[in-house]
Symmetry: C2
Subunit: 397 residues, 2 copies
Amino acid sequence: MTNISDRMSGLKPSAIREMLKVTADPSIISFAAGNPSSEAFPHEELGEVIAGIFSADPSGALQYSITEGFAPLRKLTADRLKNKYGIGTEDDDLIITSGGQQGIDLMVKCLVNEGDCVICENPSFIGALNSFRSYGANIIGIPMDNDGMDIDALERALKSNSRVKLIYTIPTFQNPTGITMSEEKRMKLLELAVRYDVMVLEDSPYFELAYDGKIETPIKTADTTGHVMYVGSYSKVIAPGIRIGFACGPKWLISTMTVAKQVSDVHTNGVFMTAVAKYLEKYDLDAHIERCRSLYIRKRDLMLRKIDECIDPQVRFTRPGGGLFIWGELPDGFASAPLCETLKSYKVAIVPGPTFDTREDIASRGFRLNFSVPSEEQIIRGIELLGSGIRNYLSGR
Amino acid sequence: MTNISDRMSGLKPSAIREMLKVTADPSIISFAAGNPSSEAFPHEELGEVIAGIFSADPSGALQYSITEGFAPLRKLTADRLKNKYGIGTEDDDLIITSGGQQGIDLMVKCLVNEGDCVICENPSFIGALNSFRSYGANIIGIPMDNDGMDIDALERALKSNSRVKLIYTIPTFQNPTGITMSEEKRMKLLELAVRYDVMVLEDSPYFELAYDGKIETPIKTADTTGHVMYVGSYSKVIAPGIRIGFACGPKWLISTMTVAKQVSDVHTNGVFMTAVAKYLEKYDLDAHIERCRSLYIRKRDLMLRKIDECIDPQVRFTRPGGGLFIWGELPDGFASAPLCETLKSYKVAIVPGPTFDTREDIASRGFRLNFSVPSEEQIIRGIELLGSGIRNYLSGR
């Protein structure tokens, strides 16, 4: 009886996190990361608020806390979502989670039975896909256009599957494609969710990292019937290592997710729940996000410029309006997994498409590039190397 | 389809954590807590190491980290377990978890299928019971003697149930009873686990809080066949709010738990993984634990003395050699849940037996008292009030 549970037996370690170990090699230029740039962390401000917590009485922050999260942080987060983005009704509640990942995992655990269907974009975020798999869900991947999920395909999937429990979407600067769903498609998706009475999990860790002016309106903002759970995070706008995220949605589901969180980790780190609350009170998060934008916009523009300059035009790339990722697609008949092998000798790392594919399809032609972590020098040199590696791979040499 | 998953639909919020909200009322003397005393936290030392992290370069601690946990903390923790307690073989590995609770939850998720059986002491820790329930396990409660689990009943349960996947035990200063399993029973339990090829989850958050000299040898120390997962925590010996625990066991299971953790919260708070590592390098944890002992031993002795003095001898109490809890049992025919109601007018709070009962049996006559949190004054006054309340309840007035 000492064997793995069925729900976990299909899972592999996240290729990305495994790759992080490989790309620890400093001689490799890595576009494989998924994290924000360390340059963008408010080091001093966080250090200062934490020093303040310890110089006052830290007992509260060091003691067990309630599972819903530190009350001032819940209120500051809920108020900001409401006032800035119109997110949250009196039928909604908000829970602090240990990163956005936990918000996804708790919702899936609380909603999805083994054998139920989860619909999502294909490709999609590996952390969410693995959460679905770990609860025995059947994943239905919906192809994407440049304006997001193919809504007709979504409707067909809803019509033809009686056990759909959840539609998972990253509508803005999607991971891995960088694609943003159009206003029209957002409204259509919500309308379908209501008509088929299926919950939506709106995963939105990047939407404030918008580089072309406009910040997209979340789907949750239009949710009047309690069909949308909004999952967000401070990871991309403050720092990921602190593991502070949040989920805002219908009270009946948040209260069950709270019970699931008691079982998962009791509550999120108390000192950092307090520290983020004090940071939000004392500093201007929006001004900080503006500084992150100006850092990332330079890197995105540089990477796109170098791509146009160095990479065979047969390879198509998205031109994301924000976020951390650009998605490339090789011509017909060329899979991206073998390309990654070729690239090892070019000392450049990317993430191959199968990692993000809902069926882990090894024939996937896509690959993900991250522009937030590498330096401008690494972007210039790395895209040149990528261009040579691709030329080599496509010429079959 | 917008309804709770089957696995979560049976769960109630932990009565204890709900009670914490009630006992926020300062006029109530609470013996209902489950946490260490804030007096026992190494405030200054933690503040100092964290200041050190931020005055150096905190980028690493603020960035995404690997799921297994901060390498120096893993090594320091594994070395301490090995050198002090003989825990861990070359076939074992160690993962840092977000508190001991996450170690339990990850193991259950990775091992137990819906419908499988988990055997544990009855009564047992509510956080573990709820984790078992949340994965659809059938819980088989084994009654306890003063020297731990009834081993004959354990063997009968193993014989008569083909789907037992896990034996869960808190062998030392058990929660909620304070009972410690004898050396002989530990060896018998391990022998049975090996014979029936069932994994053991040894949950040991309290064993170093030993007040009568002897520190018990963990079951894991005798595990040569890889049948024991040892779950520990820094919550009770440093502070619970930081949510740092660990699990040490067979590599095949730790590697799957690592995948499950990627899905749960990616990794534990990076700054505090670094801070605890620096604390262990710079300070003497054992000397700190000695200070905790001297604080708690006074409180335990005082509570036991007041119990003998103020409470009807028909009510039986355990006399724990350590930990945080004393367990009381009312005479035949008197359930503890109604007693808690009676006690509200006496302004004293305890946790009733059904909370810890594997079947949530409302007829449970037991109740849990915590002595680590209340002040000596509160213990004196609170036990007097408890004595009056019990007298009232037993006399049926």
